[in-house]
Amino acid sequence: MAKHTGRGISAIEYPTGMNQNGDPSQAWIKIKPDGRVDVFSGTSDIGNGSKTIQSQIVAETLGVPYDWITYDNSNTDSSPVCTGTFASRATFVAGKAVEKAALSAKEKLLEIAAKELEIAPEDLEVVDGEVIAKGAPQKKIGVPDVAAAATWVHGELITGTGAHLNPYAAIVDPETGRVDSPPHAAISYAACAAEVEVDDETGEVRVEHMWQCFDVGRAINPTLVEGQIQGGALMGLGLAVLESCYPYYPSVEHRGTEFGSYFVPGIEGLPKIDTIIIENPSALGPYGAKGISEMANNPQPPAIASAVFDAVGVWVTELPITPERVLRALEKKDEGPRRDGKWVIFDEDISVNTVAAEGSRFRFPVGA
């Protein structure tokens, strides 16, 4: 029988925010005279859903319906600084900035409401678009009425700004890599299992099933975070078995310049993808959220490589695991690692020790 199935697993971690931090985000919010909310943030939505996530954070923090929020990230004249949508920072760092801006606007909102209701601001809360006296819910005023009063009666603008910056964590000792404070906003964690089918005649690896569990801290929008994990899974599949800019790396020959000759995963043969979300809140993230969208493509390649070993007994440690690499590995299957004392030495043929010349800067001593 030419086809063999196998399973492999992996466990990973990944930081939220730029490595070593130092990456600010800012936001500002104003409330229109009818209580509708304008959010200005500089976060690009690259499909990750940050427009939605940040609007949800503002709705929750202010206590108003989601559809009252207008979110504008369209330009740098009206939106303040956001370092950008990368480093898994759009929910955590930029989300924290809009949360702080919303808290600041809420403070102003309650200050005006306090005047209207003649109740101290600290005794008020905002629920579903209404400012309500704590413990006396019959005493209330709608957010639109507060906003109108601010505009037409009190001559005030209900607005708020927020900024979030984890200070730069300098490397204090370049010899050891020691840092002077945590070099990340948070860390998140994931584990994965993959099931593959390997054809030992053609070398083809088909990924049949991927199970993934991610600690997202808090799922601000569970469907969006699922979408990130599912999208990451297929990108991980691409990394594992399909994609390379240089099919004959390190040679630069035969680069693919179209989708027919550069292999991005398609919908045909889509594996089964199971997603498990656990919520272990980050102490500092907005509502406990961590950023997981980047790490979403990290656990599959090693799980798939281990599954290939489980299926046909060869370790392919150069990515992608092409049919050719599988066949070449199968040809040498009986060789195994070199054993030298207590050393078990794999992959010597591709090591710098073999390829680099005498006197190279790059060496990795192995063996007893």
Partner: protein, 152 residues
Amino acid sequence: MKLTVNGIGHEVESHGLQSLLYVLREELGITSPKAGCVQGGCGACTVLVDGEPRRSCLTPLAALNGAAITTLEGLGTPESLSVVQAAFHEQYGSQCGFCTPGMIVATTALLERTKKPTRHDIEQALAGHYCRCTGYVKIVASVEAAAGGAKK
């Protein structure tokens, strides 16, 4: 020559060998078909030609011969989404949105041919449509929802 797009007749001036994609985007300003590759490999430029999905980047204007073109703009509006548009919205079948016009146009054609598509039918119909964001899981869910339900 004459070209009917989303029910409206146009007199277009582009060279007959010009692609339908170019004519739609640059001459008529209809921008939902996307120039994702202009190689025929991504599906983002897909439009309906007499109801059949076609790569507009590979279709010369002169080959159209009076055909009726439908783009995503012709399927529904924000106030009145088509069943397929509503399903892609409700099932989060769109992330960055760049593949979405082609996906929805191709799905619309699929459901015209096949009321209850199997998973295999869906994969076949969308095989040439590339999405880097979703991992296709929610796209499949969107198509299944569109096939399964009337518009909400």
